[in-house]
Amino acid sequence: MANIISDETIEYVGILAKLELSEEEKEQAKKDMGSMLDYIDMLNQLDTSEVEPMSHVFSVNNVFREDVVTNGDDREDIIKNAPAQKEGSFKVPKTVD
């Protein structure tokens, strides 16, 4: 494997992804990420200087909605998705700015 992922990198990526990894999982993730980057390196060997970046997998554009209210009050159903709720709101651990 050409790409070696450091302990620091895997720790950082874990924080960004909000994942707590065991030592075993970290080792596995380092291997997986390394081989992914190897694959990217392979792609990078292609000369793409003349190729427009792809903006979307479908060649579709300008899909719009008109500005008309179509949704009513669906709070009862929506709030069922909350792990915890209080007075019609999603209840979450205290956040500080």
Binding site: Y12, I15, L16, K18, S55, H56, V57, F58, V60, N61, N62, V63, F64, R65, E66, D67, V68, V69, T70, N71, D73, D74, R75, I78, I79, N81, K86, E87, G88, S89, F90, K91, V92, P93, K94, T95, V96, D97
Partner: protein, 477 residues
């Protein structure tokens, strides 16, 4: 000798667009609904839901870009800005990083040193986040996603401002343009316009910028001005002590008049933007662009020119009236209901401005309708009420938008136009005030004022002073 410092300021202004629905779903954007009553699977980030772009958002963004002399990007994409925070249920905000809809514009402001152009780096479209309320009882936070997905444009200026005054002038100009376009009501106190201030200081003459900080939580022009003064002083003090300014986000506390470094959302600066695969590109054709250009409404400069041609009112009054879209709308609507433009302008310039000042309100907060102002002017035109009563009635219109016709009727404020009754009251007043009559006849013409006042008192204010004057002169001959 102490060093001279220059303040360098750039602004990021978020404006909530005046669409009826959110940017990617058909939920209402109405302000003030009960928590989570304007939500759906899209704006609460449910897996499998798909966003569909509101066309009006693109048109408002284009309109603002055109009015601020920007180049409109004809090939647009949306990107995901990734971060974890409960106000953002998708764990990413849909925004535009790589291809913002407007670029390289600018607006002109007036400064004591003359006109100055403040550059606009870019304007991009994005979605607003939900609102977090801290619950004291349970020491938890409650999330309301009604605001999640409300369309925003973020207007990023160049670091072209050098003082709080320039910042305020820029914001006022920007707000006026957007209000004229009808793209937003731009209320700082309700959060439909929010400004983040990026500020650094450097020694006068230096070519490099200093390290900047970003200040948030500024919800009035006064708070912005105080925050700029406070942050400038803080940074200069650090430099004078030989310390460094740290690049960070600070939260302004307007009560304590001090800013605090915000606890950084851990590693939040790594947003890992990438193109949103759920949204297809937006291509703005020349045809569409021209359509929006053709629909651009009259802005302040054009309105001023038109008023100068159409109405015989002072230029100063025109400046004030057109200085608020809302006030200009009331002005025009009252005139269209048949009122004399000069009189409408007078009510706006004198009584309205006086009451706004007294109540510490902005012209945008005016609640009264053109209909009731037009009716009041008609009452005075017909001499149904005199000017003192009219002012009283206007105060009621200003406060509660009452119907002046019904009010005058109900309170019995109509001027007594019965000349016979007025004449006999005046005769009584003349008989009761021989001294004033004597003074008047011996040449002290001012004495008549006292007699008018006495008559008005007898008539309980419900008489036409010019009519009293006329009869008095006649009787005193």
């Amino acid at each position: 000798m102490s060093k001279q410092y220059e303040t360098v300021i750039g602004l990021e202004v978020h404006v909530e667009l005046a669409t009826k629905t959110k940017i990617f779903c058909g939920c209402s954007t109405e302000f003030g609904g009960a928590p989570n009553t304007h939500t759906c699977p899209v704006c609460t980030g449910m897996p499998g839901s798909l966003p569909v772009l509101n066309k009006q958002v693109v048109e408002y963004a284009m309109a603002v870009g055109l009015a601020t002399n920007c180049t409109i990007t004809q090939f647009n994409k949306f990107d995901r800005k990734n971060y974890f925070y409960p106000d953002n249920p998708q764990n990413y905000q849909i925004s535009q990083l790589y291809l913002p809809i407007c670029r390289d514009g600018g607006i002109e402001i007036d400064t004591p040193a003359g006109k100055k152009t403040i550059g606009i780096h870019e304007i991009h479209m994005e979605e607003d986040a939900g609102k977090l309320i801290h619950d004291e009882w349970e020491d938890c936070s409650l999330v309301d996603y009604n605001r999640s997905g409300v369309p925003l444009i973020e207007i990023v200026s160049e670091p072209d401002m050098r003082s709080a005054d320039e910042v305020i002038a820029y914001l006022e100009k920007l707000r006026l343009i957007i209000q004229y376009l009808g793209a937003s009501d731009c209320k700082l106190n309700e959060g439909s316009m929010r400004a983040d201030v990026n500020l650094s200081v450097r020694e006068v003459g230096a070519s490099e910028f200093g390290t900047r900080t970003e200040m948030k939580n500024l919800n009035s022009f006064k708070a912005i001005a105080r925050a700029i003064e406070g942050e400038r002083a803080r940074q200069i003090e650090l430099l004078e002590e030989g310390k460094q300014v740290i690049q960070e986000t600070r939260r302004w506390d307007d009560n304590k008049e001090y800013s605090y470094a915000m606890r950084s959302k851990e590693d939040a600066q790594d947003y890992r933007y990438f193109p949103d695969p759920d949204l297809v590109p937006v291509i703005i054709s020349d045809e569409w662009l021209n359509e929006v250009k053709a629909k651009q409404p009259e802005l302040q400069a054009e309105k001023k020119e038109r008023y100068k041609k159409e109405f015989d009112i002072p230029e100063y009054d025109i400046d004030i009236i057109t200085g608020s879209k809302h006030m200009a709308d009331i002005f025009e609507e009252t005139i269209s209901l048949g009122a004399n433009p000069k009189k409408v302008s007078n009510w706006l310039m004198v009584e309205t401005m006086r009451l706004l000042k007294e109540h510490e309100m902005e012209p945008e907060d005016i609640k009264f309708s053109a209909t009731n102002l037009a009716k009041l002017i008609q009452l005075t035109d017909e001499k149904a009420i005199n000017s003192t009563v009219a002012k009283e009635v206007f105060e009621q219109i200003f406060n509660e938008d009452i119907d002046p016709v019904a009010y005058v009727e109900e309170k019995g404020l109509k001027t007594v136009n019965d000349e016979g009754a007025l004449r006999s009251t005046i005769e009584q007043v003349i008989a009761n005030n021989p001294q004033s009559v004597e003074d008047y006849k011996s040449g002290k013409k001012k004495a008549i004022g006292f007699l008018v006042g006495q008559t008005m008192k007898e008539m309980k204010g419900k008489a036409d002073p010019s009519m009293i004057n006329q009869i008095l002169v006649e009787l005193l001959q």
